[in-house]
């Protein structure tokens, strides 16, 4: 990025991070609420051992399908495992899958999208067709294929969710990068004799950070939702690992009537998490780039 040094007296005083945060909260109360939900989730995931007393994976057949009580805040499931404990530990699984797949998929998409816009021509055309194929390919089939080839497990779930994010992020980033490519400082960088890699990574990528960040934030929520769906289908995380989608599988449907807490609370957790990331992402979008619409 070209930096223009201003005379000292004209330089705007940079607001402190705390002041910026306060400004964000005042301007976007909904976004702040979303950010708060996200924060709660992160705290829950990090301090899961501290905020719970039961073991999330060991069965207790003396306390099967107990209704919510002072002892078991959200009741127990058909194996006598505490629902609250499993939800707290499930936050760990959800955040791990959500963050890793969103960041990895988004970042690969970022680099590919910028490169595609920068080189243009035949490379761009071929690249766009490849992205078309990946976009049109049903996600569930990709996930099924990954699971059949590599087996189930958290790292394969992450792989299955990451791949479909790449084309979506690349699309959005590419359209922003096309505008950046036409700016004079890219020509200037070329004239300086900089290599393509340097121009793409140092001059173009920083200028498309806004759409990238927006895509990634939105993608975390989406990834959590997809992880839940895959685990619900039995294609994602496997028992006994606590995961929200898995908690709704099997038992939850069977016992929905006699023990509705088993079916209700994990769904509430998924909804709140996705809700939080979506609100936060929306606010971030308004804040970073008022012109952009998704």
């Amino acid at each position: 990025m070209a930096t223009i040094t201003r005379p000292a007296d004209q330089a705007p005083s940079r607001p402190s991070p705390l002041a910026l945060l306060w400004q964000f909260c005042v301007q976007n109360p909904l976004g702040a609420a979303g950010g708060f939900l996200v924060l709660v989730m992160i705290v829950m995931a990090v301090s899961a051992e501290v905020v719970t007393v039961y073991d999330p994976t060991s069965n207790n057949f003396g306390a099967m399908l107990e209704p919510p009580s002072r002892e078991y805040w959200l009741g127990t499931d058909q194996f006598g495992r505490d629902v609250y404990t499993r939800i707290v530990f499930g936050a760990r699984t959800a955040l791990l899958v959500g963050f890793v797949s969103a960041f990895v998929g988004g970042t690969i998409g970022l680099v590919l999208g910028v490169a595609s816009a920068y080189f243009g021509g035949r490379f761009d055309l071929v690249f766009q067709r490849v992205m078309d194929v990946l976009m049109a390919f049903p996600l569930i089939i990709l996930a099924l294929a990954v699971v059949s080839i590599f087996g189930t497990g958290i790292q394969n779930v992450i792989l299955a969710i990451t791949v479909p994010f790449i084309p979506r992020c690349a699309r959005v980033v590419r359209s922003s990068a096309l505008a950046v490519r036409e700016t004079p400082f890219i020509d200037a960088a070329r004239a300086c004799g900089f290599g393509h890699t340097r121009i793409v990574l140092r001059h173009m990528v920083p200028n498309v950070m806004a759409p990238y960040l927006i895509m990634v934030t939105a993608a975390v929520g989406q990834a959590i939702l997809i992880e839940a769906s895959l685990s619900f289908l039995g294609l994602g995380v496997q028992e006994p690992v606590p995961a929200w989608g898995l908690m709704l599988r099997g038992g939850a449907q069977e016992y929905a009537e006699s023990a509705p807490w088993v079916a209700i609370f994990p769904g509430v957790a998924i909804s709140l998490a996705v809700f939080g990331f979506n609100l936060f992402g929306d606010a971030l979008r308004d804040w970073l780039d008022p012109k952009m619409k998704v």
Partner: protein
């Protein structure tokens, strides 16, 4: 316009070809094959001779390249062959489930249009009032709630209310009957999955309608219409909504395409025998023919829906011309 459509149709060929390569390679990367699976489920001993015969019969002994060419030839002539698992023609296997999935997708789309357009419009017209907040909350919740969970809640709701009203539990029927044979029975089965998926899609479309309406309501021609004394209702209906609907149509079209291939989870919750279930079964049975045909079907629906959306777009908005 015709030239544009032809160009788009031609551009579809590489996309379909790419998808064909991808599904072909992915399926063959899965360890084992259908012959081994069949024998394993039969419980018999793994006689190499039997496995060889099975492969010979299904054409799996041929080199990959020849198999791929056969697959492409089948695609080009729209002859997908037989399912490797059941041995019945793929066309009839898919046709059975296609009806069900198509009906759920159409019902969910109609439902989402019926919810999204009025709600999105009201929300934009009454921006920053309590109505707006309620609609926005409703739609954000819809995006966040997993549709399979909503499905579980719906089933739970049906059970509880049917018990309270009739004294005994009632569950939606499971066997599919086409709507023209017994509409009441058919609807009592498919309304619920349509509701569960439709709510989610209506939420996305509501958000889109609202933001498009907000933008259009600030246009000069809306102010002009107000200035010449037109009724507000008329302005909203005739001047604003018509222009705001364009991006909404895009969203609805893309969602419809996704619904056709992405109902797997909802079908699981409601125990429906649709395309999604067939998908999962054919992948786990390593039924190459069936999986390949299904993937190509879904990718083609996706590509054609995208094209249809773009054509409708140009038809509705005379300012859009696809000349290049």
């Amino acid at each position: 316009m015709l030239r544009y459509v032809i160009k788009r149709l031609l551009l579809m060929i590489p996309t379909l070809f790419g998808a064909a390569v991808l599904v072909f390679v992915l399926m063959r990367m899965v360890p084992g094959d259908i012959c081994v699976l069949r024998l394993a489920t039969g419980g018999g001993s793994m006689d190499p001779q039997v496995i060889n015969n099975c492969r010979l019969e299904l054409g799996l002994d041929k080199p990959y390249f020849a198999q791929f060419l056969a697959f492409l030839k089948g695609l080009a002539t729209l002859d997908f062959g037989n399912s490797m698992w059941t041995g019945r023609p793929i066309i009839s296997e898919v046709g059975l489930r296609f009806q069900l999935s198509l009906q759920v997708a159409i019902m969910a789309t109609v439902l989402s249009i019926m919810i999204a357009i009025p709600l999105g419009t009201i929300s934009a017209v009454k921006q920053n009032t309590w109505i707006d907040y309620v609609v926005r909350g409703f739609s954000i919740a819809g995006v966040a709630m997993p549709s399979f969970w909503l499905g579980i809640l719906i089933i739970l709701g049906i059970l509880i209310t049917s018990k309270a009203w009739f004294g005994r539990p009632w569950m939606p029927p499971i066997t599919y009957v086409p709507i023209w044979q017994d509409p009441l029975y058919n609807l009592s089965m498919l309304v619920w999955p349509a509701l569960a998926t439709g709510y989610r899609y209506s939420a996305v479309a509501t958000r889109m309608t609202r933001s498009a309406m907000l933008e259009v309501l600030r246009e000069d021609y809306v102010r002009t219409a107000r200035a010449k004394g037109l009724f507000r209702k008329l302005i909203v209906r005739r001047h604003a909504l018509r222009n705001a609907l364009l991006p909404v149509i895009t969203i609805i079209g893309i969602e419809f395409a996704f619904l056709m291939g992405g109902l797997v989870v909802t079908e699981q919750v409601f125990n429906l025998n649709g395309l999604g279930k067939l998908f999962v079964e054919s992948v786990s049975n390593q039924d190459y023919n069936m999986t390949q045909a299904l993937v190509m079907l879904v990718v083609a629906i996706f590509a054609f829906t995208n094209l249809a959306v773009d054509v409708v777009y140009a038809w509705l908005d005379p300012r859009i011309r696809y000349n290049r």
